[in-house]
Symmetry: C2
Subunit: 212 residues, 2 copies
């Protein structure tokens, strides 16, 4: 299959328009089954080391489970607030949408018992495959007007216990998904100057680190 | 910005058509500067934890450096061949394109000295942000008829030393890029039945692990 310059442009627009969406932007409109299927199909055609496809998905719409995950977030965020006590902006940020998003998805990494092709030297490759699937989901959701937020301020062990995930599976991401009326023009943390945008030139090296 | 059903379809086609490309598929046509800029722009609009943008890129076209990285691959792959000695198919697989690809890119993770928003509970989030950037590059390259292969059968320390990357930066991926005349219809490891395709139903759980 050949793609066109217009396809390249469309893809770049989708990538630029993708946002990490928090609870103050979600509507409570339920995500239709066929839309969710597009998002999961995008995940499943991600690259995976040794074609191991080491991903599993727990779809969460149960209010009690969401409440427990939200308590987990609150406890972890209290610790984070102490770490960032000298940056008062932190306390004002809405950093998750666990209760507001109609759908949460826990994305798991399932280690394989036998050796995996491509993982004999770099053992993080399995987890990285799952992350590629998550980025595919994020981009696909954006074309459907569905926002996604990745909540990382969580105690992993407690999430796995809450969802009764057996060992040695690992939580890679806890995602919040829902329709969004308006996606922000730029990342909130850029707009609020939490961090500055890095320019490509400062991130590029030619052949050896430090050379350009 | 609103996207259309046609945009969704285009994105899904790109995702399905993306392949891990090895040395037997690359042409030696040089990647034009403006095409490379599209690929790097795609990387830079990936999501990153706390807007930390913790990525750096070493572009490699130097023959001597490529030769040394290729020797690194050969040594690691000899170990892997022993691990997979009961699967003779392994020995026949072409698993990298370091010398054949006109461009190699080492993608680095640069840890930040001060705490990063969103990394206080899950410290892998920085590395995962870099992986999201890599998936964006892979998809963008595909629309430009450029194939990308992720070489993971490498000793990370030796790659970092070869490229003179200072500590504590980390190698997330060693990528091979080049034009491809024909992308394979499906993943090689699927076609050769190294692993079977997993079906969505077997990977989905509702609210609790094991429930559907």
């Amino acid at each position: 299959m050949n793609f066109t310059a217009k396809n390249t442009e469309t893809l770049l627009k989708i990538m630029h328009a993708r946002r990490d969406v928090r609870g103050n932007s979600f509507s409570d409109k339920i995500i239709e089954k066929e839309k969710l299927e597009f998002i999961l199909e995008a995940a499943l055609c991600a690259p995976s080391v040794g074609y191991s496809q080491p991903w599993e998905f727990v779809l969460i719409d149960d209010r009690d489970i969401k409440q427990n995950i939200h308590k987990n977030f609150q406890a972890e965020n209290e610790k984070a607030q102490k770490i960032f006590k000298e940056r008062p902006l932190y306390q004002t940020l809405k950093l998750e949408g666990i209760l507001e998003a109609p759908l949460n998805i826990a994305v798991l990494y399932t280690p394989q018992e036998s050796p995996v092709l491509g993982m004999t030297s770099m053992d993080k490759m399995g987890e990285y495959s799952v992350v590629c699937a998550i980025e595919n989901m994020w981009l696909m959701a954006r074309t459907l007007d569905i926002g996604m937020g990745w909540v990382s301020i969580l105690n992993e062990e407690a999430v796995l216990k809450e969802l009764r995930v057996p060992q040695p599976k690992k939580l890679i991401a806890y995602l919040c998904l829902g329709y969004v009326k308006k996606f922000a023009e730029e990342p909130e943390l850029k707009r609020l100057q939490w961090e500055r945008e890095k320019k490509l030139k400062s991130l590029l090296h030619l052949n050896r680190y430090g050379a350009d």
